[in-house]
Each structure stands twice: as C-alpha cells, then as structure tokens.
C-alpha cells in the first residue's frame, strides 16, 4: 500500500527526471523542489495557522481569559475553545498540514534511497517498481556521481588527505538558518511556542548531522535542497526575519501584517476593535458578521 501509493510513483517521477536531465544529483535537486512546490499550499496553511495561534495566545483577550478563569480550568478551556471558534482559529490547523506532509517527506527520502540501489537485491527491487512505460534498461543503473560526490556513499571532500563532510556542514548551516529565520518572536505573551521552537532548534540540527554524516550523500543533498526551498518559501510569504542571521538587516516591525485581529472582550472599557484582516480558515458565522475590510491596520 505504502509502496504502491507513495514510493512507486515518487521513484518513477525521480527516474523520469533523471532520464530528462541525465544526472541523478540534478534530478534529486529538481525532484525535491517539485515536491516542495506541490506541498507548498500545505506549508503555507501551516505557517498561517501557526502564526494565528501564536497571535491569539499573545492577545490581551486571550490573556484576560487566562487571568479571569485561572481557578477554573474547565471554564477556561471552554472559553478558549469558544474564542478559537469565533475567530476561526484551530490549534490543530498547524498540525494537520504537517501530518499530511510527513508521509510525503518520508516517501521522498525513501524513494531517493530506493533509486540509489547499490546491491543486487536493491537493483532487483528497483527494477520491479519501475512503471512499464519506462524502460529499466535505459535507466539502470543510475549514475551516482555528482560533482565530487558518490551519491550512494556518505560524502567527504578530500582536501590534503582530510575527508571534509561538506554536505553535512551545509545541512547543519541550512538547518540552523532555517530554524533561525522561521522562529517566532519570543517576547511577550505565552512563551510555550518559543520554548518548543527553541528545543526543536537545538535538536533538529543534531538529528540532521546524524543523518547527513552517516547516510548517503543523496540524502544529504536532499536535506540541503529541502532546507533551502523551505527558507525560500518562507521568504516568498514574507515570513522570514533575516535580522536573526544578518545583523545589518533591520528587524521587521512586529505584527505588520497579523493573521488575525482579535476583538477585545465586550465588557471592557475599550470598544471592540474588530476585525479579521486575513482569513486563516473558514470562520464561524459569528466571526463573519464582525468581519470588515481592513482599514485601520497597515
């Protein structure tokens, strides 16, 4: 089932790209970008949902709710749920796209590994999943050589007799850059997300080093391209904060373009200032009534 629905089509697309560009390394790069583009709507949804949840958790109304019902967890949960429904924000909105992407990421990795068959058994298995309209004789074996690398082996660039794991270093750098530029702002509000992100930022590069250093260069190449594509996608959405890695770049003004604007509690002295600027997901009927075109926020 997994092989038929994910691995087989992925591997065949990868092989078709290899046939077109006549270079397996280039094919891995193009295939990774292609998959990232296909899953971009999911990534975008995930980014927006994450930001909306973060903004909601930092909003005065949310914090007031926490303060108001600090002794009644049940009521607090109920009110928080109501608020989330009212604003059309789901805490699971950021998880679902991630979960949908996961099989794709794993499938992408496994199809690359499958295509880099190095043993007779792996070749037999690869030959069997090639679609009939592709001629295995024209495809197999794949040329694993790309630049200085053997894509089927862990990569090392030998300089003066020392094997330098260039791709592993690139994987670490791009992972760090990716996590830095994508990290949510840490000041104010609920810092759970920031703490979670911080722990992810520390663990992910370590995991990536382990994968890139020990496994084949093809995987490391995929990781580098994947990281770069993700950074580019965030940049394209205007979500990257370059000031975190480039000191000469000025930090973005906070909440320049919020995902949601949360009206304050009606019983407060301030007048409720509506309004949803950007729709995250289908809001409730109540929220729709309150919605106006943005005129006060820039």
């Amino acid at each position: 089932m997994w092989d038929t629905l994910i691995i087989q089509p992925f591997t065949n697309v990868l092989l078709m790209i290899t046939m077109l560009v006549k270079n397996f390394g280039l094919a891995i790069i193009l295939f990774t970008i292609l998959i990232k583009l296909i899953t971009f709507p999911l990534t975008a949804k995930q980014i927006k949902s994450t930001q909306a949840v973060q903004e909601l958790q930092k909003s005065p109304r949310y914090l007031k709710l926490q303060e108001k019902y600090k002794d009644n967890k049940e009521k607090l949960a109920e009110e928080q749920f109501k608020l989330q429904r009212e604003l059309g924000v789901s805490p699971f909105g950021s998880c679902l796209p991630l979960f949908i992407q996961f099989p794709i990421i794993i499938g992408l990795y496994q199809s690359i590994m499958r295509a880099m068959a190095s043993t007779p058994l792996e070749l037999i298995k690869l030959e069997r999943i090639i679609y009939p309209f592709l001629d295995p004789n024209k495809i197999l074996p794949l040329q694993n050589r790309f630049l200085w690398m053997d894509l089927g082996q862990p990569e090392r660039l030998t300089v003066f007799g020392i094997g330098i794991p260039v791709l592993t270093i690139l994987v670490v750098l791009t992972t760090l850059v990716q996590s830095r530029v994508m990290a949510p702002p840490t000041e104010g509000g609920n810092d759970q997300a920031a703490a979670m992100t911080s722990s992810m930022n520390m663990t992910m590069p370590v995991v990536m080093v382990m994968l890139a250093y020990q496994f084949s260069a093809g995987l490391a190449l995929y990781l580098v391209v994947s990281n770069l594509t993700t950074i580019a996608q965030y940049a394209a959405m205007g979500r990257t904060d370059w000031s975190k890695i480039l000191p000469w770049v000025k930090s973005k003004p906070k909440a320049a373009k919020p995902s949601i604007v949360i009206p304050d509690l009606p019983d407060e002295e301030e007048e409720a200032k509506p309004v949803i600027v950007e729709k995250v997901s289908k809001p409730s009927a109540r929220a729709s009534v309150k919605r106006q075109r943005p005129k006060m926020k820039k």
Partner: protein
C-alpha cells in the same frame, strides 16, 4: 501543563516518525553471502561472518566477536585453505586466518565503497571489486598492485583466465583487463547493465554472460567478438545469475523463472522450461547429477541435465542468493524466513538448518 506535555509528546512523536521513516532498514539491503567447501561453511550476513560446521550446521565461531554497527558483511568470503578473504560495508577488505580462533592478518583500507561481490584469487593475486567504481588488485601481503577505475559500482564476482581479469560492468559492457597492471585490453559492449558474473568455458575459450537487457551472449575471449547472442525470440527476461557450463551446454536462468539450455558452441536452444516463478538468482551445478534452481518464494527444485525435475522442496523465506553446492550439501540462504540457511543432501532430504542466535 497538559498542553505542554501534549506538545512535547507531539515533538517526540514527529521526530520519531521522521527518524523511523528515514532510517527504515539498514543503510543498504542485501542478501546473505555463502561460500563453502568440505571443511568450511562461511556465511556473511549483517554484522557477522559466521563459520558453520558442515556436518550439523552449528556455529563454530563468528567474526567479529562483538558486532559493530558500521561493519556489515554481505559479500561471500573467498576461502583459500585456512584463510578467508572478505570485504565489508565499512570499506575494509580483510584476510582472516581461520585455522583456529579467527584472526585478522591484514586489512586493506584504500577503498571508498562497499564490498558486495566475492573476490577471486589467482596465485598470490587477489582481485576485489568495490562499489566505489574500482577493482582493486592486492597481493597476499596486502600491497596494492593496481586499481582499475570504472564508471559504476562493481557488484559481481570477476573471473581470472590466464593473463586476463574479466569483469561484468553495469556500464553496459564486459571488461577484459590485463592481470598484470589492470589496463583495459578490451571492452565488449552489451545492450544493458551487466550484474551477473561471467562464466568461462575452456573448451570454446569463451565467456558467457547475460545482461539486464534480455540478452545472453558468448564472447570469444581472444578476440572479444560476440560469437552469438540469444534473446529467446524476445521472450528472455533480465539475467541476474551466472550461467552454468556443462557437457557442451550453457544453462542460464532469467528473472521470470525461465531456464534455457543452449549449445555452447552455436547458441542453438536445446530445451527450455519454466521453473514456476520469479528467480532472481543463478543456478547451482551438482556435478554429474544436475542443477538446482531456487525461486524467490523459496521453492527449490533439482533438475537433471535433461531438464527433468527430480525433486522439489519449499523453504520459508525469500531467496535472492544463488545456492551453493559442496561435496554433499546444497546450501540455500533465505531472508525473512524461519531460518537463514537450509542444507539439503542431493536427494532433497533436509540435513540441517541454521538460524542465528539473537
């Protein structure tokens, strides 16, 4: 607090899924390598080389004593008296003295890829193919004599005939190298990648080999000319195993389970049969008696040389390794089955099985 725990669990779950998904299975998947003679049965599989007693299949010793995650063995060992020569997936090639407790005499460390194929020895010359696209020639004191660099991984056992080293290449050709210095004497082009080991017939002084491009050829060793080519009128499938040469006939098998006997001289078809299923292995010759064919699903059939089926047995597991025949045993290695090695006598009676201790 609950949310925090939930989130932490979610992170662990996602990281676990990613690692599990990415690290599924070993770094490379391969099949057990068996080599045997009347005194030794050597099984290369995963983290150990195991020595089995040919009489009862009991493990006599294993190397290394304690497994090393990086050291994985799949290449069949070359047995030479009381020494074996074997390479691993940590890019090392070793000579191990097996007269008592296995002792590594030397380790050749120049390769950058895995040793998947069995090495060959000719006098003191050892030829070891590697997946780093190189064929290494080493002498028996661990001195590198020459290296032949190709374009693709070498994954099949070479052949040494007089002054030539003959190697199947995935680069759609058969290489004839000078045994003295590794230079190319000639390259014989094929239509597809060649992963089956070449077979040599001294009577015709020819090399017989098939490729993944549904072809089987006879190559004159002296001239490099293809004397004849067989494709079974377009019905032959890809060839993964070494052909047998016996009594002037060449017996080959294809991936789909077709077994064909051809005249070694002319390439004319003597007979053909369907073994009953996928057969991504070669055949094993039982001297003067017949040959053994093993299907991927574990069906073992003994045929006499006139294609008559003599006996058939079914074992548990999948078979991707060519069976090995000793003086009195037929050894079959299976993966994903109840046992790793199954031993039968020539009448098809099970003699013993071997399952590695966990």
């Amino acid at each position: 607090m609950k949310k925090k725990i939930l989130r932490s669990l979610l992170i662990v779950l996602l990281a676990g899924l990613l690692l599990a998904g990415c690290a599924m299975g070993p770094r490379a998947e391969s099949t057990p390598g068996i080599s045997a003679n009347s005194d030794h049965i050597i099984v290369s599989y995963m983290n150990y080389i195991r020595h089995l007693n040919p009489v009862n299949g009991q493990e006599t010793w294993r190397y290394p004593e304690k497994s090393n995650v990086k050291q994985v063995f799949y290449a069949p060992a070359l047995i030479d008296g009381e020494s074996i020569y074997v390479g691993d997936f940590a890019n090392d090639f070793m000579k191990i003295n097996i007269s008592g407790i296995p002792t590594v005499e030397w380790t050749f460390k120049d390769a950058k890829g895995w040793y998947q194929a069995k090495a060959v020895k000719d006098g003191s010359l050892i030829i070891a193919p590697n997946t780093d696209r190189s064929i290494y020639a080493i002498d028996d004191s661990n001195t590198l004599l020459w290296t032949h660099q190709g374009d693709f991984a070498y994954i099949s056992e070479p052949l040494v005939v007089e002054e030539m080293v003959i190697v199947s290449s995935q680069d759609h050709k058969i290489l004839f190298l000078n045994k003295a210095d590794g230079t190319t004497i000639r390259e014989v082009p094929m239509n597809g990648a060649v992963v089956a080991a070449p077979a040599y017939d001294p009577k015709t002084d020819s090399v017989f080999v098939g490729s993944l491009a549904h072809e089987f050829v006879r190559i004159d060793r002296q001239t490099g000319k293809i004397v004849w080519s067989y494709d079974g009128s377009g019905t032959l499938e890809s060839i993964w195993g070494k052909a047998l040469i016996v009594d002037g006939q060449v017996i080959l098998s294809d991936k789909a389970g077709k077994i064909v006997s051809l005249s070694a001289d002319t390439g004319a078809e003597n007979w053909q049969l369907y073994a009953g299923g996928a057969m991504p292995t070669g055949l094993a010759l039982v001297e003067d008696k017949g040959f053994v064919a093993v299907l991927e699903d574990g069906t073992i059939t003994f045929y006499d040389l006139t294609q008559k089926s003599v006996w058939s047995r079914v074992i548990s597991g999948n078979v991707y390794s060519t069976p090995v025949v000793t003086e009195n045993l037929i050894l079959v290695a299976a993966i994903k089955g109840d046992n790793l090695i199954y031993a039968f006598d020539f009448q098809g009676q099970p003699v013993w099985t071997f399952k590695p201790a966990k």
